[in-house]
């Protein structure tokens, strides 16, 4: 009996000890970060497909493809941006179409006319092949979401555009303006809509928002007096134009000549 009592006391202490340990081990304690492993898994050809996902995408893909591949117009010869030193057939087309269609919006909204359209050669991302023209063609030529903007510029900035073209030596799309590169690498005979450059006049120049914000080092656009966003994507300008015409015109007229 005595022995048992002693044992009981020990047991009591042991219970207290256990309870305390249990409480402590159960109290919220954060985990310790011991190891980190990082790697990159390529999503490549050999990866398996997920039939459920494939099935889900299919109707969306089919609809887009049907729409993108529906024929809108016909192109009688391949329009390419790599043929031509100072102008190209595709660049001419693009600048002409933007000037014409942009003008419709600009006239309605501002009651003013666009004088010049100036874009960048690098912005043309594909050729327009001979044959059927589709919405996909417009997506390929103009994958970017650039909006058309019109900038009010003075004579000085028009001159800067000509020196930019001469310096860059690229067939940047240009419409509404013609000039001659003189032997001393300056622009002369500058005509805007057939009329000589007027120091008192404000010119309305259409371009895209990327270039208007100084893209491709076109710093002259920042010196505009006023900026009008037409909220009209260049790609949609093209799509709307393709829908309107039957046969794409091949415009090979010379806008910039060398002396």
């Amino acid at each position: 009996m005595v022995k048992l009592k002693k044992y009981n006391r020990f047991l009591k202490l042991f219970v207290i000890f256990l309870t305390l340990t249990t409480i402590f081990s159960c109290s919220p304690k954060n985990y310790n970060l011991t190891k980190i492993e990082g790697k990159q898994i390529p999503v490549a050809e050999n990866s398996a497909q997920t039939p459920e996902i494939e099935k889900f995408i299919k109707p969306y893909r089919d609809h887009i493809n049907k729409d993108l591949d529906s024929v809108l117009a016909y192109c009688p010869e391949t329009l390419d941006k790599s043929t031509g030193k100072w102008q190209t057939s595709i660049g001419n087309l693009l600048a002409d179409v933007c000037l014409e269609r942009g003008n419709k919006v600009f006239k309605t909204r501002e009651n003013k006319s666009i004088d010049i359209c100036f874009l960048n050669h690098g912005g043309i991302r594909a050729i327009l092949p001979k044959g059927n023209v589709t919405t996909r063609s417009a997506f390929e030529i103009m994958p970017f979401e650039n909006n058309m903007v019109v900038l009010a510029l003075k004579e000085e900035q028009i001159l800067e555009i000509t020196s930019y073209i001469i310096r860059e030596k690229k067939p940047h799309p240009l419409s509404g303006m013609t000039f001659t590169i003189a032997k001393d690498n300056t622009a002369k005979n500058i005509l805007i809509k057939g009329k000589p450059l007027d120091v008192n006049k404000t010119y309305y120049v259409a371009t895209n928002d990327y270039l208007a914000n100084g893209g491709d080092n076109m710093s002259f656009f920042a010196k505009n007096i006023q900026k009008y966003d037409l909220n009209y994507k260049l790609r949609n300008v093209l799509i709307d134009y393709f829908k309107e015409v039957d046969t794409i015109p091949v415009t090979k007229d010379i806008r910039i000549t060398e002396e």
Binding site: F14, L33, T34, K35, G38, I41, V43, I53, F56, F139
Partner: protein, 303 residues
């Protein structure tokens, strides 16, 4: 006397039993494994690149990514799947459906959260708002204030995920919108300084909420070589504290491996980004230990 003896003995056996239980919980269960999977700048690339693509032939594709994620989930169900923004814009899928398919597919893959990239504003706040019903995952951003916009209440400043006992705090930082995104698109969204916001977030997540892991989803961009003063993930990592992992985006940076940066307090923080267009899936595995002996042990980073 007998009654007392009985109570004492019962108490002892209960204690022994609970000791047994807690002992078992000290076993295998005490090393926890969390897998973070992440993407960034997927830009509506739902289909793989065509075989004749000059840069990325046959790469990417949601269906394949979903299969990879599923395989990893089977291996370790304790996964957190995250995206660092710019889900939108880049293929006709976006032009035609405005991001609906992107959100639906991410929901099918069981993404947990995404932050917001500059291109996610491309159809305006209204365009983003219109797609919200298609997303079952969270949108997390801490430095854009959407209070005076339609997005008010739809973007969380942070979220704490409980992954098998591991408390993971996730917050998000986005890039300065002015000059990058048209004001007509982001409207009254207010951009706040990401470093200042991060201080509040880490104090909340680490000190107050005692998260075991703090992750920042960032769309600030990895690094700006020509604009050293501009905030980037590498700078952000140096100027902040209590962040374990920064999952980045925006600059479409392909890294050979995650970058280890020393933060404000000298601790190591991982910065990762996996390029763009769903070409890669990032994977970071975190192993946690509850054993006291490890408390002050340095963590090993294998990248």
């Amino acid at each position: 006397m007998k009654r007392r003896e009985f109570i004492e003995k019962t108490a002892a056996s209960t204690a022994l039993l609970s000791l047994g239980l807690s002992l078992s919980s000290f076993g295998t269960d005490d090393i926890k494994h969390l897998t973070i999977l992440h993407t960034n700048d997927v830009h509506s690339h739902i289909d793989p690149f065509p075989a004749d693509d000059p840069r990325n032939p046959n790469k990417g594709g949601v269906s394949r990514r979903a299969a990879l994620i599923e395989t990893i989930r089977r291996e370790n169900p304790n996964v957190l799947l995250l995206d660092a923004g710019d889900i939108f814009q880049g293929t006709p899928y976006f032009n035609y459906y405005g991001g609906e398919l992107e959100f639906k597919l991410m929901s099918m893959m069981k993404y947990d959260a995404s932050t917001i990239g500059n291109h996610d504003f491309d159809n305006g706040l209204d365009g983003l708002y219109a797609q919200m019903p298609h997303a079952t995952f969270e949108f997390i951003n801490s430095n854009y204030d959407f209070k005076n916009t339609v997005m008010n209440g739809l973007v969380k400043p942070y979220k704490i995920f409980n992954k098998n006992g591991i408390k993971v705090g996730v917050f998000g930082v986005g890039i300065e919108l002015q000059g990058l995104v048209d004001k007509q698109l982001y409207k009254e969204t207010v951009y706040n300084d990401p470093v200042e916001i991060a201080q509040d977030m880490t104090r909340l997540l680490k000190q107050e909420e005692k998260c075991d892991l703090v992750i920042c989803l960032s769309h600030l961009g990895y690094k700006y070589k020509d604009e050293p003063s501009k905030i980037s993930d590498l700078k952000f990592a140096e100027l902040t504290q209590d962040i374990d992992l920064i999952i980045g985006g925006h600059t479409h940076t392909f890294l050979d491996k995650p970058t280890i940066v020393k933060n404000k307090t000298g601790k190591e923080v991982l910065v990762n980004q996996v390029g763009c267009y769903g070409i890669n899936l990032g994977r970071i595995d975190f192993y946690f230990d509850k054993d006291k002996a490890h408390s002050n042990q340095a963590r090993s980073i294998i990248v």
